[in-house]
Symmetry: C2
Subunit: 461 residues, 2 copies
Amino acid sequence: MGVGSRSLFVGTLVHSKSLEELEYLEDIAVFVDENGVIAAIQTKYSKATTEEVDAIFQKLGWAREDVVVKTAKNGEFFFPGFIDTHIHASQYANAGIFGKTTLMDWLNTYTFPMEASLSDAFKAKTVYSRVIQRTISHGTTTAAYYATISVPSTNLLADLCLSFGQRAFIGRCCMDTMAPDFYKDESPASAIADTRATIAHITNIDPKHALVTPIITPRFAVSCTSKLLHGLGALQKETDLPVQTHISENKNEIKLVKELFPDHSSYTHVYDGHGLLGPKTILAHAVHLSEEEVDLVKIREAKISHCPASNSAITSGTAKVRMMLDKGLQIGLGTDMSGGYSPSILEAAKQAHLVSRHVAMEGDDNTKLSVEEVLFLATKGGSQVVGLSDKIGSFGVGMEWDAQLISLGSAADPVEEGLGSVDVFGWESWEEKMAKWLFGGDDRNTLAVWVKGRLVHERKI
Amino acid sequence: MGVGSRSLFVGTLVHSKSLEELEYLEDIAVFVDENGVIAAIQTKYSKATTEEVDAIFQKLGWAREDVVVKTAKNGEFFFPGFIDTHIHASQYANAGIFGKTTLMDWLNTYTFPMEASLSDAFKAKTVYSRVIQRTISHGTTTAAYYATISVPSTNLLADLCLSFGQRAFIGRCCMDTMAPDFYKDESPASAIADTRATIAHITNIDPKHALVTPIITPRFAVSCTSKLLHGLGALQKETDLPVQTHISENKNEIKLVKELFPDHSSYTHVYDGHGLLGPKTILAHAVHLSEEEVDLVKIREAKISHCPASNSAITSGTAKVRMMLDKGLQIGLGTDMSGGYSPSILEAAKQAHLVSRHVAMEGDDNTKLSVEEVLFLATKGGSQVVGLSDKIGSFGVGMEWDAQLISLGSAADPVEEGLGSVDVFGWESWEEKMAKWLFGGDDRNTLAVWVKGRLVHERKI
């Protein structure tokens, strides 16, 4: 089922109908064209007459023999691919290693040395190949990646995403101050020139950015001079490319930003004042944003990447997701490896559920997120954050087939083998099965993954 | 490698030397006798001469041909079996299903109906068989189980633990008030008579409680009358059996206990006043204990089962583990399924690490637990809690071989198969490998499990 084949996916589809509600569509056939676009959806497929199915083929101008058919077995379901809105590909080899650090000492102890070491092209290829394959195996069909400051290493990440077939945003880290000498941009001008070089490379290998898109990446306000931020803001205006950065992750960081940018009234205003806060901006973390800052984010239509595993692991704090949702922000999930310890957006969704309960412990029970809500953030919410909600994140005619086939284990299978640690006993409702998947599932439950209709992963059982 | 064989385990051993420190013992041979007891440990085994090894065999009176040899491959290691100090076997089928509930509505919505339904012997056998096999597959060699109020169902759980070879404490739930009519002890007398019946059964099938031990189980102060608590306190004095119960999990529960037992100055004093707070008492949760209560627990030498996954999932609060450790309490980990969502003590250890960071967010950075500390709680700490630290939880001559063989995946293996989601690149230190296991590992990394020297689980790769 390589690039360019027409496909028919048959079985149950589950996706987010709204923030609060999952839709369970049983007995469906999805017709996906050679470009990975959903051309037609037939309901009650098993009840359809030969004539009705023939009519679809005729309307599409397809022959039955051209189509590769993938049927989900009883109990299996197709689910939108996960969207990781914040992940540092270059830190993957450190996943799980963070000791007792918090943000600023974590950067210096673990992160900068690891990122700098990826100027070694072979090491970069090893780590990047692995993180792409690993995240795909966990169902991630789209990832917004931070690479390193190195142009060749950043370009390599883009090449590899194209080759493995993962939809990706690729950002070269810009950082011209408050960084170690061995890992720092020489000047604002060089940072911008290097960013342009990666944009040119990516546009060369994928001219329409159909799969891989460059993303302008000021690391965070602390590590960028005002001159660099202004330059990147201007570059955004010139290119209309997306932007990604970090915001308000840790209290000491916020204090430092206040000291470094005394003319701006908040962290959010720093980005806004440099032309970097717009509808195509992905702000990672947003743990300690004031309500006033949230209002500004809303006005600018900037997006939030919630990274709960990271926020707990390096003791950053608990993001107020319900508050931000209530104010109308669009929010997705990020693994933030290796501040986060896991390549899995399913784990991020689980942690979002748990962290929302830690927020509730502070007093407001309404802050709790449901299973349905965190799975929305993992898919549809993520598609809004990366600006692709018309193409991915849910299923519909005209959208692209970025999907995973999920199967949950049966309590009747031997524990020594099989589909992971989820036990379905047979009496569970759909809602209960989704809860069991969220809390007990892992990459074993993701049997296969498609991006733009192309099969990019298949689990050997 | 069935019951009664002599075994030789060769390779790397890792276990807790202290709360803060893991010991990495490479090139070791462990001689385990037909009763599962470690008879001798040889260091620098690969360097030992034939004469030196012969001398050990001679001293033990063993012949080389009597011994089954299991060698850990390069990169693999033997680790003590996990000890789950708090788990409701009867709630396993609900793992992951808890909605937005907190303790009291969770009990009525999900828990009591599920437990009551296990009066159906076939359903009980299905669920209990699965939870035992599943927890073993996650490396749990000892579990302190709550069953249900039903005598036959409780006895069945004991039979199955003996049959599958898991070391277990089996408690029949006592609850004669504040429970639904369909699931409640008729009277204090009947609750005690039923408890005696399960004690008699377990003593009949395992006279020395070598593997399975009865444990006196008042569900919690809310669901027991004072008369029942007094009766169970007397039963403990008579039998010297261990006791398990819940304490101070949820603020509404604490308030209710205060109302129900106005003559006692705290939740802890309720158990103390009924003869139920002693060195053999396991107190689950202890989320909101005052320092004064902790002091009383310390004086009585009662033990704590910390259940972080559950405490986050049903919004109970964050247990102050560092404070309790500093005051000298002995603490282990509990999955608390299905308040907790996972059968895995490795997941409980990971959550203990994360929850300690949520405590730190409240102000005191010293509360953070390290990788080494949570793995201590999962093994050695657990052995103290269940009163078996002279037998299990770490390795030493005279102790019993309750162990798991761990293997971490290599970044060189295909992601479609292999040993789970941990990627070891080859440059990691032992400390970093343990961190990767804790944060990315799962049951796939547990290749084999032994209890008292008997192989009880082996993963098919």
